[in-house]
């Protein structure tokens, strides 16, 4: 029974990772035609250095993701504080309204944004993608920071104030430090949401200006080269690293909670 379970688990993991593993292996294979046996080579990574459009798209992706992360985290943290620590009219409605954007298919969100940006004159391009990505990442930030806030008692600030802290000093000394892991986790998540985003970016990019996922997609349509494997491998590495850091931060928080 246990053996069967273990086999099932391995099958699941294999199902998840086999295609990815193949891609990574082929990125390091000299042959463009997936010939075996594998001849180790870095030629596809070297070829990347000469691929102007792909490099430009990578730069765009990183710029947009960084900006998205900073803006969404700042706005989202403030929103989470307001939603969890203040009382105001329409609060519950606002809280509930945060959730649908997570469930609405990106294709629909993307279409809606395209139409709206066109109609308002915002248009397309890097700025449009940034606005779009911030909108996509915002609910996640509010949820992640909000969860962190809930584990933090609201009378901490009152205690600090009774000891002589002004409200601002109380916030920065007793609320912000314990909340920092949540905020960093939210920032990483926002970065990852932006970096991995394809549909919205595809709709909002202009022919000259695109992001890495969009550029990979159009390269594949033109004809597949193993360079795609190489850039995808790098992309994969960065994403995995972010997720691992995120997991580490959440886990740290969880463990501290349990003690």
């Amino acid at each position: 029974m246990i053996a069967a379970g273990r086999a099932y688990l391995f099958a699941t993991i294999a199902f998840l990772y086999l295609p990815i593993a193949l891609m990574v292996v082929m990125a390091f294979n000299d042959s463009a035609l997936y010939a075996l046996p594998i001849e180790p080579s870095l030629r596809w990574f070297e070829a990347l250095a000469d691929n102007g459009p792909l490099l430009a798209a990578t730069r765009n992706s990183v710029v947009i993701a960084s900006a998205t992360s900073v803006i969404a985290t700042a706005l989202g943290t403030l929103a989470a504080l307001a939603l969890n620590r203040r009382r105001f009219r329409g609060q519950t409605l606002l809280k509930v309204l945060l959730l649908p954007p997570i469930a609405i298919p990106w294709l629909i969100t993307g279409t809606a944004m395209l139409v709206f940006f066109f109609w308002t004159g915002i248009g397309r391009g890097i700025h449009a993608m940034m606005i779009g990505h911030v909108a996509l990442a915002l609910p996640y930030v509010v949820l992640i920071v909000g969860t962190g806030l809930q584990t933090l008692r609201s009378d901490l600030e009152e205690a600090a104030m009774s000891l002589g802290s002004t409200p601002l000093h109380a916030f920065f000394t007793v609320t912000l430090p314990p909340l920092l892991p949540s905020i960093v986790a939210a920032a990483l998540f926002a970065f990852a949401v932006s970096l991995d985003q394809f549909v919205v970016s595809y709709f909002l990019s202009t022919p000259g200006v695109s992001t890495l996922p969009v550029e990979i997609y159009s390269s594949i349509r033109k004809g597949f080269t193993p360079e795609i494997n190489a850039i995808s491998t790098i992309f994969l590495g960065v994403s995995t690293l972010l997720v691992l850091i995120f997991a580490q931060l959440s886990d740290l928080r969880g463990r501290r909670e349990r003690r």
Binding site: A160, T166, P178
Partner: protein, 351 residues
Amino acid sequence: MSGVEIIAVGKGYGALRVLDDVSASFEAGRLTSLLGPSGSGKTTLLRIIGGSIAPDAGEIRFAGENVTDVPLWRRNVGMVFQSYALFPHMTVHDNVIFGLHRRGIRGGAARKEVARVLEMVHLTGLEQRKPKQLSGGQQQRVALARAIVTKPRVLLLDEPLSALDRRLRQEMQIELRRIQRESGLTTIFVTHDQEEALTLSDTVAILDRGRIVQAGRPAEIYERPQTRFAASFLGDANFFTGPVTEGGIAVAGGLIRTADRLPAVGTQVTVAVRPEKVQLRRLGSPEATENSLAARVTEIVYAGAVSTFILEDSSGAEIKLLTQNHEAAAAAPGDSVTLVWSPAHTVLVAE
């Protein structure tokens, strides 16, 4: 000398009146309990004194000085919260020194003060622990040390012991009393636990629906409750209601006399009698000076040192009697008995 005075304080949220024209005086250096059921406004009153909540009306004075408009962070109060509210990312030492730093006390002087209060609460040696590494009782002591290290003008405690288990709570009550005496701080203690209020306090103030209904020394309040609420909230009580007649109060089973002054004949009044003041007699007639009432035992609740007898008088009303278990049970369920008690223990209360 008056440590803290509140004068005609009122507070409401929308249509809800939480506090209504509350005035009270808290003696300097003494421990006063604010005792009341949940929703009685006791925590709101405490937070108004502390400065976390602004009152709609009235005035707060510390040693005669009006502090109503002084914000929380300049009011110089020590607060201990039900949840302790320790800063989770700071060590015990950093938690306790926080208030001193905010007052500009640093370096050796601050460290000396921290060491002094940590010794007072018996936490020496745990300075570098984080709150999560401490037991509930230890966290409680840290919260107390943090609140008293700054020598506040008033120490406010909001049900600080309610999260502890019974045994630890009793231990901490004694500790708290000792620390309060040693520090000499004017202390206001909010609780819904009547036993805690009686054990700990120099003075108890009973709150009911936003008003202080009675305040006084614990024994005074217990022995001479002024209202039905005070009598039933602080301890247990039997109530008898009837019209005043010549020499007493007419009730179903006869005449009840009281040492208290009665209003005019014909007025409906209520008297309270504590269950432990009532004695059970099977044989012999009661003395003429005692109150007596025929009753039937319906149930006996045995609790080791004491037993509670539940009885029924001739009208079917329930009467409770608390007795020490000196010897074998004096009666069994179903027995008809005579209850006797002194008119001095028959206290006239307002409804």
